[in-house]
């Protein structure tokens, strides 16, 4: 810094103030999650922070508890299936949006993305009334359908972005060398886009796995997801088993999130 610069005391002080404020907000954002995690390590029977002693017993409790472990399996199963279907349908739809020209294309794109703006409870109530109650679909099936519906928009948004950025001349080069359009797509485009597709699949897995609003509405004894189970326990009792279950949920999501970030980049997946 040159010796002639005016004493920028005010500027420096306000910069430090802003930095401190930001740190405080970061602490605010992280602390509830940290609290949950740390309180899950307690040795005693009630939720305590700071934890009394450190042990993993509550994680063992979660996994040995039938209701929790059962709902964990339900969540995993539904998340995997809905991610698979949402990704397949979403990738195809993205291809259509990006490659085809037809009137109303933008409107259709908005329609595909509409579940993002519909409140979860409203969608849940709607699906409940139409499918689950009228007995047309068992609640596991309507739960699956609902998760596909909320995962697909993220897949489409991600894939439309990737496809738009994809240099189509590579496909044309393959065709020029003798490959049919479908073959060119299969052997050139898909492999190049694979990271995006995998990232989209992982992201829709996360969306499904941690969803609460929809799953709460469509829950039934056989179709209770892991977050919903945590919710019901939470509203009834305050036991560290809830902390442990919650931490487990965070752990699973974080692992998959890291995978998404490696493949696609987390910020891009969230749409910012």
């Amino acid at each position: 810094m040159s010796p002639r610069a005016p004493s920028d005391r005010w500027g420096k002080r306000s910069a430090r103030l802003l930095g401190a404020f930001t740190v405080a907000v970061c602490i605010f954002l992280i602390s509830p999650i940290l609290v949950v995690f740390l309180s899950s390590l307690t040795t005693v029977e009630y939720v305590s922070f700071p934890p009394v002693g450190l042990s993993l017993r509550w994680y063992a409790e979660v996994l040995s508890n039938d209701e929790f472990s059962g709902s964990l399996l339900v969540s995993l199963r539904i998340a995997l299936m809905s991610a698979a279907i949402a990704t397949s349908a979403g990738v195809l739809a993205a291809i259509g949006i990006v490659r085809l020209r037809f009137p109303g294309r933008d409107a259709l794109n908005s329609l595909f993305l509409s579940p993002l703006v519909i409140p979860g409870i409203v969608l849940g109530a709607a699906i409940l009334q139409l499918y689950a109650r009228s007995g047309v679909a068992s609640s596991s099936f309507s739960l699956l359908l609902a998760h596909i519906a909320i995962g697909m928009p993220y897949v489409i948004r991600l894939m439309v972005g990737s496809l738009t950025g994809f240099d189509q001349r590579l496909e044309l080069a393959a065709q020029n060398l003798g490959a049919s359009p479908v073959t060119a797509f299969r052997r050139i485009t898909l492999p190049i886009l694979f990271p995006s597709i995998a990232g989209a699949a992982a992201f829709s897995f996360i969306i499904s796995f941690e969803d609460v609003n929809l799953s709460l509405f469509l829950a039934s004894p056989q179709a209770t997801t892991f977050p919903v189970r945590i919710f019901t326990y939470m509203s009834q009792e305050s036991s560290p088993i809830v902390s442990a279950a919650g931490s487990l949920l965070v752990l699973i999501v974080l692992i998959v999130a890291i995978v998404v970030d490696r493949l696609v980049g987390l910020a891009r997946a969230v749409g910012k």
């Binding site: 040159s2 010796p3 002639r4 610069a5 005016p6 920028d8």
Partner: protein, 357 residues
């Protein structure tokens, strides 16, 4: 009408020196241009005056008052930015009024002043438009109007015409000069375009690698470059390394390393044996088949380029390469097997000192 003084101003960025020992006085009402290639320090000097950088050494004074420690918003040195930097969320009137509103002038005065200034730059009807609705030339004028509205002590212009096409550039530089003279405001202009610098400035400061190479009127700079850099940068020049071997009656005789002799006008007697550069401009060299006369030497034509109104030729004279600029294609008059000669008048060349290591 303010005076600006730079006194031994220096600025470095990390390890690199941007400006070395810059000393200059800008007189009231003068338009001084800093001219040089990119990286020569002209923009840094401008930023030092505007307050976006602070000098490591030296003083900067406006009307005798030191300003080098003042923050930018207290300097009263309005800047016309290279990309105009017009506020997109304000109308033309809003942009122009900005500085006046900051200074809390009364509403009627602001309205009046905005109208005046827009009239001055010939944008009177466009007060309610937004910058994005204007052409490049119009945006340029809004940027100037915005700077002039607050009647700053100094007007700064940072390559304001570089975003415009050639024709508009020519038009606008004349307008900028006219505006500056009409308002009588002291101005510092920065550009790398020598045509711009020569056509509008009262004085030109040629800069290279952080140093001032020469300060003078456009005519002086062109006619009497003080260094090889200035000679080459302005107008392009042929520089032939020579040694002085005689002087008589306002004319010096010099000899080039292969023995070729030239005569060149010289006001004061140079030292015999001194090293120098013989400087001759491309447009002063005549090419023809007539081998007689002083300062005439046989050359071979390396290349020719026809550009419409002008033609360039590259000639080989011994080990020297000469660049020639003519108004018509000279080779038309020459027969392929004939010898070619280049000549110039002794009064149209000059000598500048050459340092020999």
């Amino acid at each position: 009408m303010s005076t600006v003084e730079f006194e031994h101003v220096a600025k470095r960025f990390g390890g690199a020196v941007a400006v070395k020992d810059f000393t200059l006085t800008i007189r009231p009402g003068e338009l001084v241009t800093l001219l040089g290639p990119s990286g020569c320090g002209k923009t840094t000097t401008l930023n030092l005056l505007a307050g976006f950088e602070y000098p490591d050494a030296g003083a900067i004074r406006v009307d005798g008052q030191s300003i080098e420690a003042l923050p930018p918003h207290r300097r009263d040195t309005a800047l016309v930015f290279q990309g105009y930097a017009l506020f997109p969320h304000l109308t033309v009137a809003g942009n122009v009024a900005f500085g006046l509103e900051i200074r809390k002038r009364p509403r009627e005065e602001i309205t009046r002043r905005v109208g005046e200034v827009l009239e001055l730059v010939q944008l009177a009807g466009l007060a309610d438009r937004y910058p994005r609705q204007l052409s490049g030339g119009q945006q340029q004028r809004v940027a100037i109007a915005r700077a002039l509205a607050i009647q700053p002590r100094v007007l700064l212009l940072d390559e304001p015409l570089s975003n415009l096409d050639a024709k508009l550039r020519e038009e606008m530089r004349g307008e900028i000069r006219a505006l500056q003279q009409k308002t009588g405001i002291t101005a510092m202009y920065v550009t790398h375009d020598q045509e711009e610098a020569l056509s509008i400035s009262d004085r030109v400061v040629v800069m290279n690698a952080g140093l001032i190479e020469q300060v003078g009127t456009p005519r002086d700079i062109y006619r009497a470059p003080a260094s090889p850099f200035v000679a080459n940068f302005i107008g392009g020049a042929n520089l032939i390394p020579v040694r002085v071997c005689g002087f008589h009656d306002g004319e010096a005789r010099v000899v080039e390393e292969d023995g070729l002799e030239f005569t060149v006008q010289c006001a004061t007697g140079p030292d015999i044996g001194a090293s120098a550069y013989l400087v001759v401009r491309p447009e002063h060299i005549a090419v023809g088949s007539d081998g007689g006369g002083t300062n005439t030497h046989r050359v071979t034509i390396d290349s020719q380029v026809f550009l419409g109104p002008v033609s360039f030729m590259s000639l080989r004279l011994g080990r020297q390469t000469l660049r020639v600029r003519t108004a018509e294609a000279p080779a038309a008059g020459l027969r392929p097997d004939e010898p070619v000669y280049a000549r110039w008048h002794p009064d149209q060349a000059l000598l500048i000192p050459r340092a020999v290591s």
